[in-house]
């Protein structure tokens, strides 16, 4: 038998029941309370009398508890005879609810009929509270985690968004995902235009979603200015603070609107913080935002603001890069063309359409102002004229203001402190407006001004140099002496280069001694042209009957001690005795003259060569070479532009020149040089070409071959005329021979070679003491008698103007014509 444990104090069973640490209820099977302990009464505030016999257990439960009692407690108890740890809220005497846990047992009698229910009630106040807190905490944690996730995603999106538009697009999605907002809109601050611009919205139909000035009294503008989060909790609040929201809140059933400024930093440090935009989002019904939510909202505002700031900086950097690249490219593009008008055109091409949809340059230079435009439509001319006048007078740019009818920026084009003209432009619609581009446009106008001024100076210098060169080259060349004829040719470089220093000259030292010279001064432009003029004069002054070419070149060597710019000029110089045909020549660094004698091949004159004028390193012991030229010889002096081409070696150039020259041995002297230039260099030549061709002595017999080209007839006539004059043929006979010869050649072209543009026509003329005979031969086809009235007239003219005319049509056509020399022979 175990010994009973002895308690330290006497345990009274009644007291134990009454003051047990839990409540006891004994009820009838229908729940009517028949016994209750003091602990329960103390907890609930009821008196024993109020409960016993008067109330059922279920009467003490909250309404939810009562239902639970019926659906769970009672059935379970009946089935199992006991229930455990059911949670009920007991409604206390003062209406307070007491959370409890309840255990009950059902006692039965011998007949197994329910007899009584014993219920034990534990006070679960603390435990319930704990559970509720636990649940709430979990809910908060979950919401916060969701928000954090949404925010993290947004932050990730933001950091990847390179432009303001993309930032806006990411931010505007946030409130729905993070806070369950019904819709949201984002506005950006455009500081330059002083505007708040609506850029994105999840539901553009709610609210007054449009742009507004920064000074607007509207809620968005006010919040943007204050830089503080503002929550409009109800329509009543909206009425009080931001009446502009009331209508749209009503219309779209919103009761809560959050206006979040997007700022560059934490909202508690106001200094230096910029509001870059406003995010507005709203909730259906009144929605109280928890402190946690508000913290996240603020965080979102900062993150978005910083992303906007970053995007704006990116935008700025990119724009600045674009602009500086544009400026650099423009300067480069302008430098590529030298002359003024092409440069202006180039400038306009750069501006329109990339920057502007219309642009105009006006320059007040020279006698006639230059005005060039590009793009359309042209602005109002009167308004423009006024603005141009103002800018030209003040030298200050004018940019369009808001709602400017003219909408054109006008900038002065200045260089060296002078206003040269104006640049007017209207920005392309997709560009930022002119006010925002002030600095850029100013920069552009400065560069353009300088480039155009340089082009103007270039133009001026070029004009002077050209005039100078032309006046020097056009000097009177000797003619009218039938012992020689000179043909010259000058062709400036096709590309817009400055004038070169090439020159030719021919002059009589004495009545019987002719000097010819071709030279090339180093460099280009006005200096080269001036030097060329000085050298030309020097040659004329230094040439003498006694000294000869070598002494003359030596004198030029001394000359360039004084005129430094003449140093390294090259010169080919020859003196010809017109009576004996003896020539003396000297080449100072210049290309060798090319001689074609009546018989044989052309020959480059390679003797008497030495270094250019004033050369320090070259051989300047000047030599000269003499040779006798037979009558009918032709000598060509030329500059390197004729034979030098980048695409072929120089010896090839010499070869082609000799071949082409030989091919033209019978061509008329007039036009010979031009023909050579055409064949050797073409139109697209990079250098100046200068030639002098001298024909010596009078041929007894003139033989010429020309192409079937009507333009050649005049050249042949000029040659023939000179030859007739040289032989003293009188004017009447001369005119008649020229007419008959022209008609015969025209006939060959128009008739014999009507189908063959490459046919050649031979002309041979001889003169005797009493007559002139001309023979014109073509190898064309003859097709029956002449039907053409005009050609008929040509034949009539031949017959009328000549004494004898003979047609031979055995192989092509040969017309032989003869006319007696008249009495007016010279």
């Amino acid at each position: 038998m175990t010994q009973e444990l002895r308690l330290p104090w006497d345990e009274d069973p009644d007291d134990l029941y009454e003051h047990a640490p839990c409540g006891y209820l004994t009820t009838l099977p229908d729940g009517t309370i028949v016994r209750v302990n003091q602990t329960f009464l103390t907890w609930t505030g009821y008196t024993r009398g109020e409960l016993v016999g008067h109330r059922r257990f279920r009467d003490l439960l909250s309404s939810g508890g009562q239902i639970y009692h019926e659906t769970h407690y009672a059935p379970l108890l009946r089935m199992q005879d006991e229930v455990h740890e059911l949670a009920f809220d007991v409604v206390c005497a003062d209406g307070r609810q007491l959370p409890t846990l309840v255990n009950s047992t059902l006692g039965r009698d011998e007949a197994k009929q329910p007899r009584a229910i014993r219920t034990m009630i534990f006070n679960a106040t603390e435990r319930r509270q704990y559970e509720t807190e636990l649940l709430l905490a979990r809910r908060i944690a979950e919401a916060s985690e969701r928000r954090v996730q949404v925010l993290q995603k947004i932050v990730a999106d933001l950091s990847a968004a390179p432009t303001e538009a993309e930032v806006a697009e990411s931010v505007v999605r946030a409130p729905e995902a993070a806070f369950g907002a019904a819709s949201s809109s984002i506005y950006l601050v455009d500081a330059e235009r002083d505007q708040i611009v609506a850029v994105a919205s999840t539901d553009p139909t709610t609210g007054n979603w449009d742009d507004m000035p920064r000074s607007s009294p509207r809620a968005v503008a006010r919040v943007a200015e204050r830089g503080d989060l503002h929550v409009v909790g109800s329509i009543t609040e909206a009425k009080q603070h931001f009446p502009d929201l009331v209508d749209s809140m009503r219309r779209s059933g919103r009761n809560t609107v959050v206006l979040l400024p997007l700022t560059t930093g934490p909202t508690d440090e106001h200094a230096g913080i910029l509001t870059l935009g406003v995010l507005a989002f709203s909730f259906k019904g009144e929605h109280k935002l928890s402190d946690g939510e508000l913290r996240v909202v603020r965080l979102l505002g900062q993150q978005a603001g910083q992303a906007l700031d970053r995007a704006r900086l990116y935008d700025d950097v990119r724009r600045r890069e674009e602009r500086s690249q544009f400026l650099a490219e423009t300067t480069g593009a302008l430098d590529e063309v030298y002359r003024l008008e092409p440069r202006i055109r180039r400038l306009l091409d750069r501006l329109v359409p990339e920057i502007a949809d219309w642009a105009e340059v006006r320059l007040q230079v020279g006698a006639v102002p230059i005005e060039e435009t590009k793009g359309s439509p042209a602005p109002d001319p009167e308004l423009l004229q006024k603005r141009l006048g103002k800018v030209a007078a003040s030298g200050e740019a004018i940019f369009p203001v808001e709602d400017d009818v003219l909408d054109c920026s006008v900038l002065p084009l200045t260089a060296r402190g002078l206003v040269l003209g104006t640049l007017a432009l209207r920005m392309a619609p997709d560009r930022r407006d002119a006010a925002a581009e002030r600095v850029f446009l100013g920069d552009l106008a400065d560069r353009a001004g300088l480039a155009l001024e340089n082009a103007r100076l270039y133009e001026q210098e070029r004009q002077i140099a050209r005039t100078l060169q032309r006046s020097l080259l056009a000097g009177d060349l000797p003619s009218g002496d039938n012992r020689f004829a000179v043909e010259t040719f000058y062709q400036a470089a096709a590309q817009d280069l400055e004038v070169g220093g090439d020159w030719y000259d021919a002059f009589l030292i004495t009545v019987d001694k002719l000097a010819v010279v071709v030279g090339d001064v180093v460099g280009r432009g006005i200096d080269a042209a001036t030097t060329m003029g000085q050298l030309r004069s020097a040659v004329r002054a230094l040439a003498s009957n006694e000294d000869g070419p070598a002494r003359l070149i030596e004198s030029l060597d001394r000359f360039c001690e004084r005129v430094e710019s003449a140093r390294m000029a090259t010169v080919a110089y020859a003196e010809i005795d017109l009576n004996t045909g003896e020539m003396a020549y000297c080449c100072a660094g210049h290309l060798p003259p090319l001689l074609q004698e009546p018989a044989g091949s052309p020959e480059f004159l390679m003797h008497a060569r030495s270094a250019p004028i004033g050369s320090r390193a070259g051989d300047i012991s000047r030599k000269e070479h003499r040779r006798r030229l037979t009558a009918g010889s032709r000598m060509l002096l030329y500059t390197d532009g004729l034979i030098e081409r980048r695409s072929r070696p120089i010896d090839k150039g010499f070869e082609i020149l000799a071949r082409e020259y030989a091919r033209r041995r019978d061509a008329p002297l007039p036009g010979l040089a031009a023909g050579l230039a055409d064949t050797l260099v073409g139109k697209d030549h990079a250098d100046d070409v200068c030639m002098l061709c001298l024909t010596l002595g009078t041929e007894e017999r003139i033989e010429r071959t020309i192409g079937a080209d009507r333009m050649q007839i005049a050249l042949l006539r000029a040659d023939l005329r000179g030859w007739l004059v040289a032989h003293g043929v009188g004017a009447e006979c001369r005119d008649a021979v020229l007419l008959a010869c022209s008609e015969a050649v025209a006939n060959a072209i128009e008739h014999g070679y009507r189908d063959d543009p490459f046919g050649m026509i031979d002309v041979v003329a001889t003169v005797t003491a009493d007559a002139v005979e001309v023979r014109v031969t073509d190898r064309g086809t003859w097709r029956g008698p002449l039907a053409d009235v005009s050609r008929g007239r040509g034949l009539q003219l031949i017959r009328e103007s000549m004494d004898q005319v003979l047609f031979d049509r055995s192989d092509g056509t040969t017309v032989t014509m003869r006319r007696s020399r008249g009495e007016d022979d010279e």
Partner: protein
């Protein structure tokens, strides 16, 4: 393009066409076009050939066509050629209508007014 050979002016109330230099197959067609363009509505026409240094059959054809058209339209016309010279020679060799030729401008103008 043809400016070096042809110039237009007024002589009294007549349109004066002054030709100069060498007129031949190569330039006559263009010169003709330039003249026709200019004198279409002229009341009187003087064509001065005194400084023409050469005239071929193409030139004669041009003058022939001009004079023909002008007289068809009833426009009084005179060609001024010197007493001698290339143009006179060619025109004479072609037996050009003597009645439209004159030796100086004043006389030609007087002819037209008379």
């Amino acid at each position: 393009m043809t400016d070096q050979w042809v110039r237009f002016s007024k002589f009294g109330d007549a349109e004066l066409v002054s030709l100069t230099g060498e007129i031949d197959l190569a330039n006559a067609p263009d010169i003709g076009k330039a003249i026709v363009k200019r004198i279409q509505s002229a009341g009187k026409v003087l064509i001065d050939l005194t400084t023409v240094s050469f005239l071929d059959s193409a030139g004669v054809r041009l003058l022939d066509a001009l004079v023909g058209d002008l007289s068809d339209h009833g426009t009084p016309t005179r060609l001024v050629v010197g007493e001698r010279g290339a143009a006179r020679m060619t025109l004479q060799l072609c037996a050009f209508r003597e009645d439209v030729l004159a030796t100086d401008l004043d006389r030609a103008a007087a002819d037209l007014s008379g």
